[in-house]
Amino acid sequence: MQLIKDKPWLPFIALALVAQQANMLTYKFGGQVALPYVFLVYSFLTQCLANLALVFVFRNKGFPVALKGKMRFWVLWVALIYLLNESVFIWIYRIGAPYSLSMTMYSLTVLLVMTSFGLAILREKISPKQICGIVFAVISILLIRLG
C-alpha cells in the first residue's frame, strides 16, 4: 500500500500491461477465426465508441473538448498509420509468429528506430549506457534470429 502511495502511477502501468497482453492475445486468436480486415472493423468501431464514452466521462476532468488548428488534419495522417500498424500486427499472428519472440523483436526494433531518429534527426545526446544498449539490442536481435 505504501508503494502505491509513493507511486500513484503504478496501478495505471499495471492496467496498461494487462491491456497490452489482452490486446495481443485477441489479435493472435482473432486473426485466426476471422478475416483480419473484418475483425479490425469491429475492433476499431469498439475503440471509437469507447473513446467517445471516455470523452464524455472525463469532460470535466481537465481534458480539453475540441481538436484545434493543425490537429484536424493531423488526425487523418495518424488514422492512416494506425490502420497500417494494426493491419500488419494482426497479420503477423495470422501467419503464425511466435508470441514471445515477435514481441521481443518488435519492442527492440521500435527502440532502435526511435533512438536512431533521435540521434540522426533531433541531434539528441547519447550516453555510454545507451551505446551499450544499442550494442546489446543488435546482439539480441541476432541471437533471436539465429536461435
Partner: protein
C-alpha cells in the same frame, strides 16, 4: 514474407505512429483524437470490404474477440495517459513498461503456447531486457520530456 521481416516492418510503422502521436498538442483531447482516428480507420476498412466484396459478418467468437480487442486497446491508452498524469517520469516508467512487457510476453509464449525455447533464444530475450533498460536511460542534462501516448 516471414514473421521476422514483417515484425521489422511493423516496428518501423509503429515508430512512425509513436512519432506522429508525439506531435499531438496538449490542447488536444486524446480520447476525442483517438475516437476520430479509429472512426476514420473503420470507415476506410468498411469501404475496402464493400468494394472488395468481403462480407462484414462475423461469428460469435470472433465478434467477442473483436470487442475485447477494441476495449483492451482503449484500456492500454487510458493506462498510459493516466500513468503520466499521475506523475510517472518517462525515464522510470517507460523502461519498466517495456521490460515488463517483454518478460510477460516471453512467459506467456512459453507457458500458454508451449513455444520452443533454446539457450540462444533465451539469451536473446535476457539481453533484450537489458538493452531496453539501457536504451531508455536518459543522458545527463537531457531535460526533454519524451512522453508518448
Amino acid at each position: 514474407m516471414d514473421w521476422f521481416t514483417l515484425t521489422i516492418i511493423l516496428a518501423f510503422i509503429a515508430s512512425t505512429l509513436v512519432l506522429s502521436m508525439r506531435a499531438i498538442t496538449p490542447e488536444t483531447n486524446p480520447f476525442l483524437f483517438m475516437a476520430i482516428v479509429t472512426g476514420l480507420a473503420s470507415v476506410s476498412l468498411v469501404l475496402y470490404c464493400m468494394f472488395s466484396g468481403i462480407s462484414l459478418s462475423l461469428g460469435r467468437n470472433a465478434a467477442f474477440l473483436a470487442l475485447l480487442a477494441g476495449l483492451s486497446v482503449t484500456a492500454l491508452d487510458l493506462g498510459l495517459i493516466f500513468m503520466f498524469r499521475k506523475g510517472a517520469t518517462v525515464a522510470v516508467s517507460m523502461p519498466l513498461f517495456r521490460v515488463c512487457s517483454i518478460v510477460i510476453s516471453a512467459l506467456m509464449g512459453f507457458v500458454l503456447f508451449r513455444e520452443g525455447v533454446n539457450p540462444v533464444k533465451m539469451a536473446g530475450i535476457v539481453l533484450a531486457c537489458i538493452a531496453v533498460y539501457l536504451l531508455n536511460s536518459k543522458p545527463k542534462g537531457d531535460l526533454h520530456d519524451h512522453t508518448e501516448l
